[in-house]
């Protein structure tokens, strides 16, 4: 599991923190800390993006259950592999076979 690295309280709390260093009830006093939790480590299959076939239709983006296909300026970027769990839904959603799943991380 990834360590919590960002600023704020989470900066000081990780899996080496002793019991008396935790917040009461494990309460979290900052937003969006799930970004720091790298669920991509659970992945056993990895999507590969073939830019030569991709038409930038963006159909894969709303299908991704983990918001792991970033879009900048109306164009999708490469996968956010820190958070992609490798479910393969994007591969099925792509009408142009521009996404294929490869075995392993």
């Amino acid at each position: 599991m990834a360590e919590l690295k960002q600023s704020g309280l989470a900066e000081f709390i990780n899996e080496t923190t002793p019991w008396h260093g935790l917040t009461e009830g494990l309460q979290i006093y900052e937003p969006a800390t799930s970004r720091q939790f790298h669920t991509g480590e659970w992945r056993t299959n990895t999507p590969v993006w073939d830019t030569s076939k991709c038409k930038q239709c963006l159909l894969c983006v709303p299908y991704c259950p983990d918001s792991s296909i970033p879009v900048v300026g109306g164009k999708r970027q490469d996968f956010d592999l820190d958070h992609c769990k490798g479910c393969g839904i994007c591969e099925k959603a792509c009408p142009f076979t521009a996404i294929s799943m490869k075995e392993g991380k």
Partner: protein, 393 residues
């Protein structure tokens, strides 16, 4: 100060009126139903401005209490028996999220057989849920304990929910004399609730009750366990402050004629009034009898109980909840473990009494003291590990 008379449920409602908490989600169940009923009347009459949430179940009342408390509101609810059992899952969430909710528990046996009378199986079942548990002998104690509850729950060293328990019907419905304390004095004593972190705080984003992977969970539980230990000192400090205002003295337990007692009974709740009469009767007969009435069961004051019993020859620990473990009840198990750890010399027996509201008479307790004398002499008095009293044989 006002000397009057009322039931235990009314007494708790009176404390709620004086505290004027922010939110009360509640679902009715005998014999605690009157408490939300009284509160609803007080709200309708404009005496308090508590937000009352009628919910569809006790699982919902505790869940709503958790939400309200996390939002930053001083929160309470009330329940009994199966209502408490229906809260089971979320009781642990309230405690592990370190939310200072106060709950009036009117003790009634868990079904079955289906019964509505006094027994401790409901709150004893929840004894390991992480809630502080404080028990009352009578209406005065239920009132006084409730007034002290938020001071304990909200203390920065504690931050744990509290159950204020009284015996169903015997205490909750019987009308007894009581002394009520001045509104302003009690409002000042309880004070305003000013949490540091809460969901409705405008300048802070916060998450309550996040998933804790195994890399965090054990440490969180240790921290929670330590808060329960720290609650001991806070309970004593709050009691001392309460005594300075009211003259009422409270601790982990009350020792009744325990100073030179050789034979003692350990019990919880309304039976202690009966046991005190039996102690007096035995003293008149020349026996050094005493009663240790447990007020605080969670945190369990093991060392203090063992110290109070250290000079006794024989001790009977009375349980109003069958453990169905083939050896006895929860109070018996914990007091005996405390005696063992303290290397106490006293003979000890666990007694089952008063299940599902079965009456206990002064003569029953006197007979128990007679048996304790024989037990202290080394006699084999009982054929069972946990004998019943008041049982048709």
């Amino acid at each position: 100060m006002l000397k009057t008379r009322m039931s235990g449920n009314e007494a708790v409602a009176h404390a709620i009126r004086q505290i004027n908490p922010d939110v009360m989600p509640a679902f009715p169940i005998t014999p605690s139903t009157e408490i939300p009923q009284f509160v609803a009347s007080m709200i309708a009459n404009g005496e308090i401005d508590t937000e009352f949430i009628p919910v569809e179940s006790e699982h919902s009342s505790m869940s709503a209490a958790i939400g309200a408390s996390a939002a930053g509101a001083r929160t309470l609810t009330a329940t009994s028996s199966c209502g408490l059992a229906f809260m089971w899952e979320v009781l642990y969430v309230a405690a592990s999220s370190r939310l200072p909710i106060v709950m009036a528990v009117v003790n009634r046996g868990l079904t079955g057989p289906l019964n509505i009378n006094a027994e401790h199986s409901d709150s004893m079942g929840a004894r390991d849920s992480g809630w502080i548990q404080i028990y009352a002998e009578n209406n005065q104690e239920a009132y006084d304990n409730f007034l002290q509850a938020y001071r304990i729950a909200e203390h920065p060293d504690v931050k744990l929910p509290v159950m204020i328990c009284q015996d169903g019907f015997i205490t909750s419905h019987a009308v007894e004399n009581i002394t009520l304390w001045d509104d302003m004095k009690m409002k000042k004593f309880v004070g305003e609730y000013e949490p540091q972190h809460y969901l409705l705080r405008e300048d802070e984003v916060m998450a309550v009750g996040p998933y804790a992977a195994s890399g965090y969970c054990m440490e969180a539980k240790k921290a929670q366990a330590e808060a329960m230990k720290r609650a001991k000192q806070v309970i004593l400090d709050v009691a001392k402050e309460f005594e300075a205002i009211t003259g009422q003295s409270y601790g982990f337990f009350e020792g009744y004629r325990m100073d030179d007692a050789e034979y003692a009974i350990v019990a919880i709740g309304s039976v202690c009034g009966t046991a005190k009469d039996a102690v007096d009767a035995m003293r008149e007969r020349g026996l050094r009898a005493g009663l240790l009435k447990i007020r605080v069961f969670r945190p369990f004051p093991a060392q203090e109980i063992a110290d109070a019993l250290k000079n006794c020859r024989a001790v009977a620990v009375m349980d109003r909840a069958e453990g169905y473990n083939a050896v006895g009840g929860p109070l018996g198990a914990e007091v005996m473990a405390a005696l063992y750890r303290a290397k106490a010399k006293a003979e000890a027996v666990n007694i089952m009494y008063g299940l599902s509201g079965r009456d206990v008479r002064v003569e029953d307790v006197e007979k128990l003291f007679d048996e304790l004398v024989r037990l202290g002499d080394g006699e084999q008095v009982y054929s069972e590990t946990c004998p019943y009293i008041g049982l048709r044989e």
